[in-house]
Symmetry: C2
């Protein structure tokens, strides 16, 4: 049996829905939920760029699915299915562990694997995933809707994954919680669906709070000011970083890979949104505000702070590069 045939046999155990046709066909069928609009995203992970070659394959599968579901979460969408684009690793043990992680993450998020493609690779593995979600008509906020006076809100804690990456690289010690934040990010799928009625603009934090907030502001034709004191940090991060300083907060706000939600919320919707978040057990915090104008500004302990030269991960030529 070829590597591909062996891999597809394993995948059949995951793709058990009727629309997947047992992975025996060239295409999958999907009956769209009546009266809903689909939200589509496709994100890729490249070995050495988006994950470390030594990362556990189960975690790579988890991350591939989670980063795509995070894009859906940022739009308040309910996951409906995923399609996998897989580069065979040339290592059946690695492939099998990848499928185990895929099964786990699809189960946790109750999202069916519908189909995909498997190819022989050349060099670094490139993994792609297409995620399909759905929203009520008008229900997917874009990045462009923030208005002066809106608050900037964020879910969860920020910066954990950035330190997790340093732990994974062996560059520092830290808790398993931080390592898990890097290797097994949680897509804020439930929070996205619950909070989207209250937001005017939203996105997930993949490249860093500063750069992603700046993108919402730019797309919306607003300025945004962030109060670094308000950035929610975990106890694990503060312990690993050795304290809670301006430098630590800047590092957290530019680390990326947080996969939390960043939201522009009108003041009169904030109280109801907080109540809704509390009801589903999701931590949210207000970390800044939009105003007329343009650009990003920062304050810390009541004083203005220069915006760092690097506000997060740029893609393309300067994309995050995990290679030594």
């Amino acid at each position: 049996m070829s590597d591909e045939a062996a891999f597809i046999e394993l995948l059949k155990g995951v793709a058990t829905g009727v629309g997947a046709r047992g992975l025996l066909d060239d295409a999958a069928l999907f009956v769209p939920p009546a009266g809903r609009v689909l939200v589509l995203t496709h994100d890729m992970l490249v070995e050495g760029v988006h994950y470390l070659p030594g990362d556990p394959p189960e975690d790579v599968a988890w991350k591939l699915v989670a980063v795509n579901l995070s894009d859906l979460a940022g739009k308040g969408a309910r996951p409906e299915g995923v399609l996998l684009g897989y580069t065979l690793s040339g290592d059946r043990g690695w492939d099998a562990r990848f499928v185990a992680g895929l099964a786990e993450v699809c189960d946790v998020y109750a999202v069916p694997l519908l189909g995909g493609d498997t190819v022989a690779g050349r060099g670094a593995r490139t993994l792609g995933l297409t995620a399909i979600g759905s929203v009520a008509p008008g229900g997917a906020p874009s990045r462009t809707g923030a208005r002066p006076g809106d608050g900037l809100w964020v879910t969860g804690t920020i910066g954990d994954a950035g330190l997790g990456l340093e732990i994974a690289r062996g560059a520092m010690a830290g808790s398993a919680e931080l390592l898990a934040a890097y290797r097994r990010p949680r897509a804020q799928v439930a929070a996205g669906q619950a909070l989207v009625p209250f937001v005017r603009a939203s996105a997930d934090v993949s490249d860093g709070v500063l750069i992603d907030a700046g993108r919402i502001a730019a797309a919306s034709g607003c300025a945004v000011a962030i109060t670094l004191d308000a950035l929610p940090l975990s106890d694990a991060l503060i312990a690993a970083a050795g304290g809670d300083t301006l430098d630590v907060r800047i590092a957290a706000a530019t680390a990326g890979d947080d996969y939390q939600l960043l939201m522009a919320v009108p003041p009169d919707a904030a109280a109801e949104m907080q109540a809704r978040a509390a009801a589903i057990g999701v931590r949210i915090g207000r970390i800044g505000a939009f105003s007329a104008g343009s650009g990003l500004s920062l304050t810390y302990q009541g004083a203005a702070v220069p915006v760092p030269g690097r506000t997060g991960y740029q893609h393309g030529a300067t994309e995050k590069d995990l290679a030594p």
Copy 2:
């Protein structure tokens, strides 16, 4: 401007539909056509595996879209949109020519680019595309529906792309028509939609007529017998091959990359299907028949012919490898 920013600026000229949100958001919106079932496919092309490093980038873009639309065509689906997964080439001229080819193929097939992802690459480029199509409920034939007594039919001519690959490699001389069959395959989108009401099973021919017919037979629990004399060959192929022999026909039937449709058709539907194909100007021919039993058998000039050891391109460890 980074390579990625430059690439996305070019892509914005292609992704002009409202659902693409100007490529400014993390996800695309897609309103599914009412009362239709979606057909989803994701196929990847790897440099050196599925195309030659020296192939024109416009043609690589064409092929990436066409092979995915061919999967939709095999299910009788109408294309609705595509998502691109692109590995930056590190060569802005190459990237720009790729986008030009993408614009052309999307225009020819009237299929909107909805979104996607762009990553920095490591080694060989890996390109992915997700194509979304739609069919009427019950309208997408699988590979499993062939029944004993059904005829095996094929659209167009077979084997042209196989010789086109040899021409592209510089291994032989031949017409521009054959080279175009390899570099710019035509997805049989109109034929698929027109003929699907008459078929019990169908698929596109991507790996070779013999292997793909064998897969339909196996999935349907039937045997299939192919009359090699009936295999439709182009004049260009016969001229380039230096004649019409059994060896030439075996080579054509195992070459792959044809992107024609292979269909199981009940005898009582054949006449009406032929009339429909003639009405839309699509060549179709009956090249064999399904029967009770299992396996693939071949005849040529009235005599049985041994099935070759290689019936087409296997994927995975033995996937077609274009590297020297």
